[in-house]
Point group: C2
Chain length 471, copies 2
Amino acid sequence: MAHHKHSNKIIHLKQLFIFIFGVALWFSPTPDGLTLQAWHLFSIFISIILAVILEAFPIFTASIIGLSFSVLTTTLTPKEAYSGFSQSFILLIIVAFLIARGVIKSGLGKRIAFLIIKKFGKSSLGLGYSMIAADMFIAPAFPSNTARSGVLFPIVNALAADSGSKVADGTRKKLGAYLMMTSMAGITISSAMWLTAMAANPAGVKMAQEFGVNISFGSWALAAFLPTLLAFIAIPWVLFKLFPPEIKHTPNAPEIAKQELEHMGNIHKNEYIMGFTFIAMVTLWVLSPVFGFDKTAVAFLGLAALMISNIFTMDDLAHEGRALGTLIWFAILYSMSSELNHLGFMSWLGDHISTFVIGYSWQMVYVLLVLAYVFIHYFFVSQTAQMLALFSVFLGVGVNTGVPAELLALMLLFATNFNAMITPQGSSANVIYLGSGYILSNEVYKYGGIITLLNSFIYLVFGSFWIIAVV
Amino acid sequence: MAHHKHSNKIIHLKQLFIFIFGVALWFSPTPDGLTLQAWHLFSIFISIILAVILEAFPIFTASIIGLSFSVLTTTLTPKEAYSGFSQSFILLIIVAFLIARGVIKSGLGKRIAFLIIKKFGKSSLGLGYSMIAADMFIAPAFPSNTARSGVLFPIVNALAADSGSKVADGTRKKLGAYLMMTSMAGITISSAMWLTAMAANPAGVKMAQEFGVNISFGSWALAAFLPTLLAFIAIPWVLFKLFPPEIKHTPNAPEIAKQELEHMGNIHKNEYIMGFTFIAMVTLWVLSPVFGFDKTAVAFLGLAALMISNIFTMDDLAHEGRALGTLIWFAILYSMSSELNHLGFMSWLGDHISTFVIGYSWQMVYVLLVLAYVFIHYFFVSQTAQMLALFSVFLGVGVNTGVPAELLALMLLFATNFNAMITPQGSSANVIYLGSGYILSNEVYKYGGIITLLNSFIYLVFGSFWIIAVV
C-alpha cells in the first residue's frame, strides 16, 4: 500500500512535469520558418510522446488528452483531428485484430501453434527464429505490412496463449511478450528485404528514378540480402538477452505438442471455415494491387464470413474493447502527424538537417542523413508519410554533396522499413501487436529503440560496404 | 437441440431470401432519373435494413456485409465508405458511452438511481414517466440530442442495473429494456418540444423563413405544447402495455432505496470527481454554440479526466467492445445514407412524392406530405441530413398546393424529431441506448415503429388543430 502510494506520487509528478513541459514549449518563441499553429501542434505531439516514454500516461490517455487540447485550442479543426478515424489502413488494423480472435476461437490457431512447437519448440529462441523466417518467406507476396502482420499476429498470439502465456492472468512475460516483440522486429527487416513487402517501397523506387537511380526487384533483394541476413540472425538473440522470456528451454514442448495434436484429432468444421476464409482473404490481399480491391473491405468480408458461420459472435465482439482503444489512439496520433506534415513542420525539420550537414565529407553526410532519417521517424505515424515527405529531400541533399545516389537511395529505402519500431505508432504492424496487451507502449520505445539502433548499425556498416561491392 | 437446429434453419432461409432480394434488386432495371450507382447503393442499403427487420443478421453483421459489397463492387470508393468513421457526432456517441461506464463505476450512478427510485420508484411506469419528465426539463438547454442522451443514458443504465436488470445475466427485460425504450421514445418528443433541443431545429427555422414563416422559441414551444403533452402522457403507458417490464409494481422499492442510500453513506471522492467532471462537461456542451467548442473534444476531455483519476481505467476500456461494434455499424450506415443523398436518391424520392400528391385537396396533401416525410426517415441515418435534403422540397410542394405554410413548416419540423425512433440508426440518441445491449435492433424497428405511428397520429390530429387554433 505504501509502495502503491509512493508510485502514485511519482506518476503524478511525471504528469505535472509533462504538463509544465508542454505549456512551456507552447508559449516559447516559435522558431523561424514555422507557423504558430505548427509550433503549437508540435508542442502537443511531442508532449504525448514524452508522456508515454516516461510512463506518465498510457498511450490511450495521452492521446485523448492531446486530442482535446488540440481541438479546444483550435490548433486543429474537428475535421482535421478526427480524419484518422476514416483511414482505410487504420480500420484494417482493427478488423485484422478481430479476425485474429476468430483464428484462436476456431481452434485453427491452436493447431498451427502446436505444429510450429512440434517442429521448432525446443526453445523460445527457436520459436523466435521460426516466426521471422516465416515472415521473410511470405513477405514478397504481401505489399502491405499491415496485412502481413494481420497474418502473423494470430499465429504468434495462439503460440503464446497455448504455451500458457496470457495477458489476462499476468503471464504475458512467460513467452508472449518476447515472441510478439521479436515478430514485430522481424517485420522491420522482412519489409526491408523485398521491394514488394511494403506499400511505400515501390513509391520510393519511383522517386529514386528522378535521381537517375533504377532499382529492380532483383537489385533491391541483392542489396538488402547481407544486412537483412545479419539482422535476422541478430534480432531474436538480442531480444532473447535483453527482453528475455521467462520460459527459455522447453525440451518437452515438441512431445507435448505432438500429443495435443493427436488429442485434437481431425481438423474440425470451424477450422476448415476459418482456414478457407483466411486463405481467401490472403489471396484477395495479394491480388489487391492488380484488381484494385480495397484491403479493408476484403477484411470486413472475411469478418462477415466468420460471423455468419458463428466463429466470431457478437458476444466475442463485446470483449474487444482493446481494439477500440487501439483505433482511438492510433487514429488521433495519425491525424496529428499528418497535420504536422501539412503544416510544413516536417519539411522545415528536413531543411534544417540539410543545412546542418553541408560542408562535411560525403561519407559523413551519408551517415548523418541516414541517421537523421531514422530518428525523425519519432514524429511520423506512417512509414509511407515519412517517405513521401522526406525521401526526395534527403536524397537530393545527399546527391548535391557528393553521396553516390544509388547507395543513399537504397539505404533510405531500407531505413524507411528498419526504423519502423522506433515508436509504438511507427508502423501499423506495431499497432496490431500492441493491441494484444502482451507488449506495453514504453517497452516498444525501449526495445524498439534498441532494435532500431541495432538495425541502423548493421545496415549502415555492413550494408553500405555490401551495396558498394555488389551493386 | 432440435429447436436450435430448426431456428438455425429458419435464419439461413432468411439470409438466403435477403441475398436473393438484394441481387434481384441490384439487377432490376434502374428507375428513370436515378444513376446506376445510386440504384446499386439503394439495393445494398435496403437489403441491410430488411435483414435487420427480419432478424436475418444482427445490425453489425448486416452492415459489414453491406460495406464490403459496396466497396468491392466499387459502388462506393473506400474513402466514401469509411467517411462516417471520422464524423464528430458519431465519435461523440462512442465517448459518451465510455463516460456512462464511469458514471456507474464511480458509484454516482447508483446514488442518483436510488434517489430517483426513492421518489418515483413505486412502479416501473412511474420510473418511465420520471425519465421523460427529466428529459423535457433539461432539453431546452441541450442543442444536441446526442449530448442529451449522453446525460440521460447513464442514469437509465444505472437505474436498470441497480434494480437487478442486467444484460449480462439475461435479465434485461425485467426493467432495463422498458426504461431504455421509454427514454429513447422520450427524446423524440423532448426534441420536438423546444426549438433549441436539437441541432437541426434552428436550421429548419431558418429554411422556413424563405417561405415567409417566422418561428421564435416561444411560438415553437406554444405550437408544440399540446401534442407533446399528449405524447408524453401516452408513450410510457403504451410501451408499458406493449413492451412491458417484467417487474411492474415495486411498492417496497422506495424504502429499499432509502436504506441503500443510508448504507452508502456520504458521497465518496470518486462520486465528487465524476459529478464535477459531468457538470463541467455539460456546462461546456451547453455553452458550445456560443464559444464554438467541439462537443466531441469536450467529451474526450471528460473521459481523460476520468482516466487520470482512475475512475475509468484501461481495463474497463478492454470490456467496451460493444462500443466498437456500435461505432462500426453506425459509421457504415451513416456513410451509405450520406452517399445515397449525394447521389441524388433522396431528392429523386422527394420529387416522386411531390408529383404523387398534386391534385388532392390541401388537407390531403398536408397529411400525405407529413406521413411521407415521417416514413422516408427509414432511409436516413441522421435527422439533420433528412431536414437538409427534404424539408424545403416538401414545404415548397405543400405551399404550392395551398397548404398553410406555417402549419406545414411546424409539422415537418416536429416530424423531423418525432420520427427519430423509426429505425435503430434513425437518431444518434437511439444508438447510445442500443449500444447498451438492453434493446435489440429489431425491437426498435417494431416498438419504435409503433411509437412513430403514435406520435404521427397525436401530432397530426391534435397538433394540427392546436396549431391552427393558437398560432
